[in-house]
């Protein structure tokens, strides 16, 4: 749907936002990623599917600069960081992640400070970027939570007292508080029940439509990818086995593994 709304030539001529080339990573004898390349255009949603251990989360961690690969390079089309992002030092990396990349983890414990208030969690992101006015922090935390459709009467409760769906909304608010250039979603709805899952996906979808945020979404749930993504990458054993438009890949899978995956779902 999103794709149809955009003019085809625009998509073809625009420069990609994210380019990752020939990324490989091994953990000892385990091959996590083998020569993976990915490109994401501005305003696009890229889905990554694959079985557990296929390297999709590792790839997302690389995109969030949490880990460095053995080989390969990674660029984002942002004025402040022209070169290979893997070559940045710790400090520049942290600054870039805080200001330009938002991430929602599958496990809220990874992305949130469970003992601090929800609005404080969102404010922390703004504090990392150097905001030091209390009134601004408060207002922007409230706005971000509101956009994520978080019930504002609970904005000062700590996440450990919230339901799973609400915790994901806090993570989302934190991720979008600084209007990032890139939003990474690591299994954002896994572990939620189906109705809450639908609501969270609704929010994500609306956000994407309103703000045209570039997203990379990792999931093993083909339904989620089908709803959210424009393009999909299928991964297996650290390699990309198939890549293409979502409809095309799911309707007419070429690779035997993708065929198996699509049929298993159906």
């Amino acid at each position: 749907m999103i794709l149809l709304e955009r003019l085809a030539p625009e998509l073809l001529t625009a420069a990609p936002l994210l380019v990752m080339r020939h990324v490989s990573k091994r953990y000892g004898p385990v091959v996590a990623l083998e020569d993976v390349s990915a490109t994401v255009w501005p305003g696009e949603v890229l889905g990554i599917v694959g079985e557990s251990g296929s390297g999709k989360s590792t790839l997302l961690r690389m995109m969030n600069l949490e880990d460095t690969p053995d080989a390969g390079d990674y660029t984002l089309a942002l004025p402040e960081v022209p070169g290979n992002l893997f070559a940045l030092d710790r400090f520049a990396r942290r600054q870039l992640c805080a200001r330009r990349i938002g991430i929602v983890y599958q496990n809220p414990h990874q992305g949130l400070l469970m003992g601090h208030s929800s609005s404080g969690n969102v404010a922390e992101r703004l504090l990392m970027a150097g905001e030091r006015r209390f009134a601004t922090l408060r207002a922007r935390a409230r706005d971000a939570l509101d956009v994520s459709e978080f019930p504002l009467n609970r904005m000062d409760d700590p996440p450990r007292l919230l339901s799973g769906g609400m915790q994901q909304r806090v993570q989302l608010a934190k991720a979008i508080a600084l209007e990032p250039a890139l939003l990474l979603l690591d299994e954002p709805t896994t572990g939620l029940d189906v109705s809450v899952q639908a609501l969270v996906l609704d929010t994500l979808k609306r956000l994407q439509r309103d703000r045209a945020i570039t997203m990379v979404i990792v999931s093993h749930d083909l339904g989620v990818i089908r709803t959210m993504a424009d393009r999909v990458m299928v991964m297996r054993r650290g390699r990309v086995v198939e890549e293409g438009l979502v409809d095309q890949v799911f309707q007419d899978p070429q690779h035997p593994y993708t065929q198996e995956l699509v049929h298993a779902k159906l």
Partner: protein, 309 residues
């Protein structure tokens, strides 16, 4: 048998003290080196060995080791505990210092060359020939937000102090004002955040661009840091919520009649409470002056509850 033959006793020199000030020379040397490092990087915590001293850990061993290293027979020491010179802990530390080094004891801030303190900085302004030694129970300002000390050290290296404002943010949200009373975190020299030891908010501005050297030492945690003279010490604040010291300007000491200094509240059996000056010797001097004695009171940091710098 009788001399001349050699015994161990007549081969060695007669016994004399090897060192003074309780610590042996190698311990003092390590302390000196660490103190110089700490002064070179204001506010940065330096690890040190923290020797055994004859008081219990947590009772001021860190401050005591620094004082024992700095002390000379010509020194004059003042030791205060919560502003008082006569509390048991202050008195026994001061007596110990005098006994092992031959230094003179005093209660008077103006006469002291070394002031070792717990929880307070004297109300009379310190001079550039004085050294303030503060006892620190917990030297790590990041501990409330990061229990893992290895990561906390990385955060110091990255100057990643956003989470300290998160604590202040939550205090503002919960209570409408900043509730941090003692050990208010402060940015030293624009780089390292330190905890100024559990001194009240009232005392933190006294460290900013001060004429005296401040050494802060935690014996149990084995960390030492310093605020050199004329160094910026800025308490962490939001730019739209100004830093406020305790509102003690309107209180009067019921014993000495002093006003505009930090007060201790003394609850009364009949309800209500009285206040007395926390800096006990300043109170004593004020009383003696009122009785007609010629007592010198130095210039104060605060006038009418306003910091004068």
């Amino acid at each position: 048998m009788s001399p001349p033959y050699s015994t161990l006793a007549n081969l060695t020199r007669p016994w004399a003290a090897f060192s003074y000030g309780f610590l042996d020379p190698s311990a003092k040397r390590e302390m000196r080196r660490k103190m110089i490092k700490a002064i070179a990087v204001p506010g940065c915590q330096m690890p040190y060995a923290s020797r055994e001293v004859p008081i219990a850990r947590g009772w001021g061993t860190g401050g005591l080791q620094v004082t024992l290293t700095l002390i000379k027979p010509a020194s004059v020491v003042k030791v205060i505990d919560q502003g008082a010179d006569d509390s048991v802990n202050a008195a026994s530390i001061r007596r110990f210092l005098a006994r092992v080094s031959g230094a003179a004891e005093t209660w008077d801030t103006l006469a002291a060359t070394i002031v070792q303190s717990r929880h307070r900085i004297p109300e009379e302004r310190l001079r550039d020939d004085q050294v303030l030694v503060l006892q620190v129970p917990n030297p790590e300002p990041l501990r409330p937000v990061q229990p893992n000390m290895s990561i906390a050290r990385q955060m110091h290296a990255d100057a990643d102090y956003g989470r300290l404002w998160l604590v202040l943010y939550e205090q503002m949200v919960r209570s409408g004002r900043i509730m941090q009373g003692a050990a208010y975190p402060a940015l030293v020299n624009g780089r390292h955040v330190m905890t100024p030891s559990p001194i009240p908010r009232w005392d933190v501005p006294k460290l900013n661009m001060a004429r005296h050297l401040t050494l802060l030492s935690a014996g149990r945690e084995k960390r030492l840091y310093a605020v050199p003279p004329f160094t910026k010490v800025e308490p962490l604040v939001f730019s739209d919520v100004p830093y406020k010291v305790e509102d003690h300007a309107s209180l009067t000491c019921y014993r000495s009649g002093l006003r505009g200094v930090f007060m201790n509240e003394i609850p009364q059996a009949a309800g209500g409470s009285l206040h007395e000056a926390s800096d006990s010797h300043l109170g004593i001097k004020a009383i003696r002056r009122a009785e007609g004695e010629a007592v010198e009171i130095g210039p104060l940091w605060y006038r009418d509850g306003e910091f004068r710098g």
